[in-house]
Symmetry: C2
Subunit: 187 residues, 2 copies
């Protein structure tokens, strides 16, 4: 099996729409079989983002409940945010923890980085398990304080069943964390 086909040629590209937070780029592509097609994608700052799965102790996960505009609903998920200019992903993870839940982490373990809908978005989300936490708060830019939701790790099944825990990235992060911990426990 061939590992990689020849990528489509980008014949032209332009910004086709722009709002306060989003820039849509339109691409005219020619695939290797000669077929031409118009695609659109979202332009991003390109610095990527982080998501953090924090353990207050070995059986206590810290989640947040935060307003999500797309669903107009309070969603349960993990601390996350964009990487600031000049930051490493680890620094961003620690800053977001301090801004969103009032803890820093002495220990961060990097898991696999995720793409969010690679058909539309180019940027990567770096996933971390955080432990050995210490209290420290940084001022964030949230419009309201985020509700901190401690969750017993042994009740992971109930978290997976919770109708407010839906974000594909939070679910992937939780189950990758479980894999990592099972691996560590299995030797």
């Amino acid at each position: 099996m061939t590992k990689q086909r020849q990528l489509p040629t980008i014949l032209s590209s332009k910004v086709s729409a722009k709002s306060k937070f989003f820039t849509v780029e339109q691409l005219n592509l020619r695939f290797s079989n000669g077929v031409e097609r118009q695609y659109e994608r979202m332009k991003s700052g390109g610095r990527g983002s982080v998501m953090v799965v924090p353990f207050l102790d070995p059986d206590t996960l810290l989640l947040i409940r935060e307003y999500a505009c797309g669903t107009h609903h309070y969603e349960l998920g993990f601390v996350k945010g964009l990487i600031d200019p000049g930051e490493t992903p680890e620094q961003a993870a620690n800053r977001e923890l301090k801004e969103e839940i009032g803890y820093g982490a002495n220990k961060l373990i990097a898991l696999k980085s995720l793409a969010m809908a690679p058909g539309y978005f180019g940027s990567s989300m770096h996933i971390f398990i955080a432990s050995d936490l210490y209290q420290e708060t940084l001022e964030g830019d949230e419009p309201e304080s985020l509700e901190l939701v401690p969750w017993a790790y042994h009740q992971l099944d109930q978290l997976m069943d919770d109708p407010d825990f839906n974000d594909a990235r939070s679910i992937a992060a939780l189950l990758m964390t479980q894999r990592k911990l099972n691996e560590a426990a299995g030797g």
Copy 2:
């Protein structure tokens, strides 16, 4: 712990940008603490989408390698697509299987539905495990045929490590499938 805060009030909304495939909606919100903030989200058709994890036999997953415009890269992932008007999620799952890999499924098991970045998108992705497959092809709208990638289920670790397997939704779908099968095996 209170389960749900009072949702922000939508003071006004308007379309702030529109391209061929994307519509950006701008919302002026007032949070329950009185803070006002402008948000943006992507408007969707609202019918949602499906992703399917197909088993050709108990140890053979069928993946596809498909061009992703956001990353300008061929990405490894599962069959997916939008639900057409009038379709149930199950019908959409079966149609997408026929269009993208040339199989229909006699058996579909629904897993948890996922949100893709609920801060920006409102629609839901329904995840299915498909088995008891039969050969049947439907014409899709892909610009080129998709590369079918069979993968041994017992080599799930290698799939998780594959640098082309990044999509948060595919990873969540794979690990939810593993949970489901482990549950079934465990009784």
